[in-house]
């Protein structure tokens, strides 16, 4: 068995310059993120966070679309920015993306099936168009879509659910080992959402790992093995999903779970919560980014950012657990 991890993210940090030339400040969208996917040991990891948490930025860095300021993404031990063209193609064959908005994932001036055929031909999965169509049909079968539903169709001629399923099928054609899925079901009808998530569970059984980026903790609970909670660029809690969500340790995780509206009128919210006023303010804070809103915060929390700590088998960034 191969012990080199399939994909490893080491100390990833991404800074953006905000504001003008003279007075611009640095915004750390991602700070020291670490993640690991093994070869042949498939798992579904959720990268959970609110909007502005940096999860989409991290997803893009992992895909190689966005270059990190510091830190490395290692594909089978090699920095993806050091890969030559052929090796980069091998990387893309094994790591495929699924994006949130199916109407943006496809160029509305191109037919959808062409993307799938391109994928099959470009990665030499098929040698000609007929073979490609056969292989595509197999991939479409997994997502319960028939070829004729997308044949010669433009993305605005099909429904959102069909388009997203086509996008997923396209990602499956190269038989990847890792799928990076950024909010894959948030723009899909409730009717279809669970069937797509059930497909993800099936894919995991077939040895495919998935990085599931979302803000929806309920669906995360449903499908993922491990979960990373992101707050303003930091992974503040990381561990097995069942444990983290049933027994959250970080105050932010606790607040997140508390705020999920439960579809049970008998268990309504009782407490009142306080909201933060300005997002950007939190990014610029020196210590723990949650200090302003945390019921347990101390001066230490405001001044020094907490390091990663191992608590009960999880990784947490919180001074409470020192």
């Amino acid at each position: 068995m191969n012990t080199t991890p399939l994909l490893e993210m080491k100390n990833l940090t991404k800074e953006f310059k905000v504001g003008g030339l003279l007075f611009g400040a640095k915004l750390r969208a991602v700070e020291n993120a670490n993640l690991l996917f093994e070869q042949e040991k498939s798992k579904i990891v959720t990268l959970a966070g609110e909007s502005g948490s940096g999860k989409t930025t991290l997803g893009r860095i992992i895909l190689g679309i966005l270059k990190p300021t510091t830190g490395k993404v290692l594909y089978k031990g090699r920095d993806i920015y050091s890969l030559k063209r052929k090796e980069k193609k091998k990387f893309m064959k094994e790591v495929q993306p699924i994006f949130q908005n199916p109407f943006e994932s496809f160029n509305f001036l191109r037919r959808i099936d062409n993307y799938l055929i391109d994928t099959a031909l470009n990665f030499k999965i098929a040698n000609n168009r007929e073979e490609a169509i056969k292989i595509i049909s197999e991939a479409l079968n997994i997502v319960k879509l028939r070829f004729k539903e997308i044949k010669d169709k433009y993305v605005h001629e099909v429904s959102g659910g069909q388009a997203q399923r086509a996008a997923i099928a396209r990602a499956l054609i190269t038989n990847p080992s890792l799928l990076i899925a950024d909010e894959p079901v948030s723009m899909v009808d409730a009717s279809l959402r669970m069937s797509i998530l059930n497909i993800f569970l099936e894919l995991k059984k077939k040895k495919m790992s998935i990085l599931y980026i979302t803000h929806d903790l309920a669906t995360a609970y449903y499908i993922s093995d491990e979960i990373a909670i992101m707050l303003r660029g930091n992974i503040v809690e990381y561990g097995r999903t069942r444990e983290v969500l049933s027994n959250p340790l970080h105050p932010y995780t606790q607040m997140l779970i508390e705020c999920i509206p439960k579809p049970d009128p008998k268990k309504r919210w009782v407490k009142k919560i306080k909201l933060s006023d300005l997002e950007v303010k939190e990014y610029g804070m020196l210590g723990c980014k949650f200090a302003d809103r945390c019921p347990n915060s101390t001066t230490k929390c405001r001044e020094k950012p907490p390091p990663e700590m191992d608590v009960k088998g999880r990784t947490i960034k919180c001074w409470l657990y020192e």
């Binding site: 895909l63 679309i65 193609k89 893309m92 064959k93 495929q96 993306p97 994006f99 908005n101 943006e104 994932s105 496809f106 160029n107 509305f108 001036l109 191109r110 037919r111 062409n114 993307y115 391109d118 994928t119 031909l121 470009n122 990665f123 433009y154 605005h156 996008a167 396209r170 990602a171």
Partner: protein, 290 residues
């Protein structure tokens, strides 16, 4: 090209609905026929002086009349239209080709290359076209012909397309379908032609029209001041000679009238077609029908 069938379908619907587009399309087609079909059937070289009796008003024999130099204005006009259109296309397409190639490179590659390209492009954008043209043509008046003039105009106006194409490429590069195409294994060239080109096409078409309009206008301006090749048949030189022989004062309205009318028709049609194309082939209006 994959988007062709959408374009053709919409084209027919648009023509039916938009009157100005339809009219400009018809008039431009008429001018094309005059310039590139009929002009080859002229019974004589209309530039030669004294081929027909002079100063005759429009009649069935001489459709647009004749001028004091003994030239048949109708046939002269067909040659003039041909030359103006050739000039327009050379100036427009040559400049556009350079502009597009450099704009694509600047937009996609970024970094130092982008800055170098933009530096040169901006320099040329700032150059005032007409004064330079006047300067150049006053020196090489004798050897100036449509091709050379076209190339000169192209070399002065390639800057703006660079900026426009670059900004379009910059925004296309961040669209999610670019990433989908990347992970479908497509190379940069494939992405450029399969993904981006259909988006750029409306702008390119409109730009061709607009730049042609500009070039023709430049030539007319130069010629009126006597700075073009005065023995060639062009719209501008026809006006030059008409003025030189004081056609208006002598009541020979057809000599100056017809070139002017045709210039107006040509310029207005080009403008209407270009803005009409821009408006209707805007991808958003295709999508808006959903």
């Amino acid at each position: 090209m994959e988007a062709r069938s959408i374009y053709i379908k919409r084209f027919r619907v648009i023509l039916k609905r938009n009157l100005s587009l339809m009219i400009s399309f018809i008039t431009l087609t008429a001018i094309f026929i005059l310039g590139f079909v009929l002009s080859f059937f002229s019974p004589y070289d209309p530039r030669r002086w004294g081929t027909v009796p002079s100063d005759l008003p429009p009649s069935w024999t001489y459709l647009f009349g004749t001028n004091s130099l003994g030239q048949d204005i109708f046939w002269l006009l067909t040659w003039a239209l041909r030359n103006s259109l050739i000039l327009g296309f050379i100036a427009s397409l040559a400049g556009l080709s350079i502009g597009i190639i450099l704009g694509v490179i600047a937009g996609y590659k970024g970094g130092l290359i982008e800055r170098i390209i933009l530096f040169f492009a901006d320099t040329f954008i700032m150059m005032p076209t007409l004064p330079i043209l006047i300067l150049v043509s006053s020196r090489i008046k004798g050897t100036l012909n449509m091709f050379i003039l076209g190339l000169i105009i192209a070399s002065l106006t390639w800057g703006m397309p660079v900026r426009n194409i670059r900004s379009m490429i910059l925004s296309l590069r961040e669209r999610e379908f670019t990433y989908t195409a990347l992970f479908s294994g497509s190379s940069f060239i494939k992405i450029l032609f399969k993904e981006y080109f259909p988006h750029l096409l409306p702008w390119i078409l409109a730009s061709v029209m607009g730049r042609t309009l500009f070039a023709i206008g430049m030539e007319v301006t130069l010629a009126i001041f006597g700075l073009s090749t005065l023995n060639e048949a062009t719209l501008g030189t026809m006006i030059y000679w008409a003025n030189k022989y004081q056609a208006m004062f002598r009541g020979l309205w057809w000599w100056i009238g017809f070139p002017v009318i045709f210039i107006l028709i040509l310029l207005i049609s080009l403008y209407l077609l270009s803005s009409g194309i821009n408006e209707h082939l805007n991808p958003r209006s295709i999508r808006g029908q959903r």
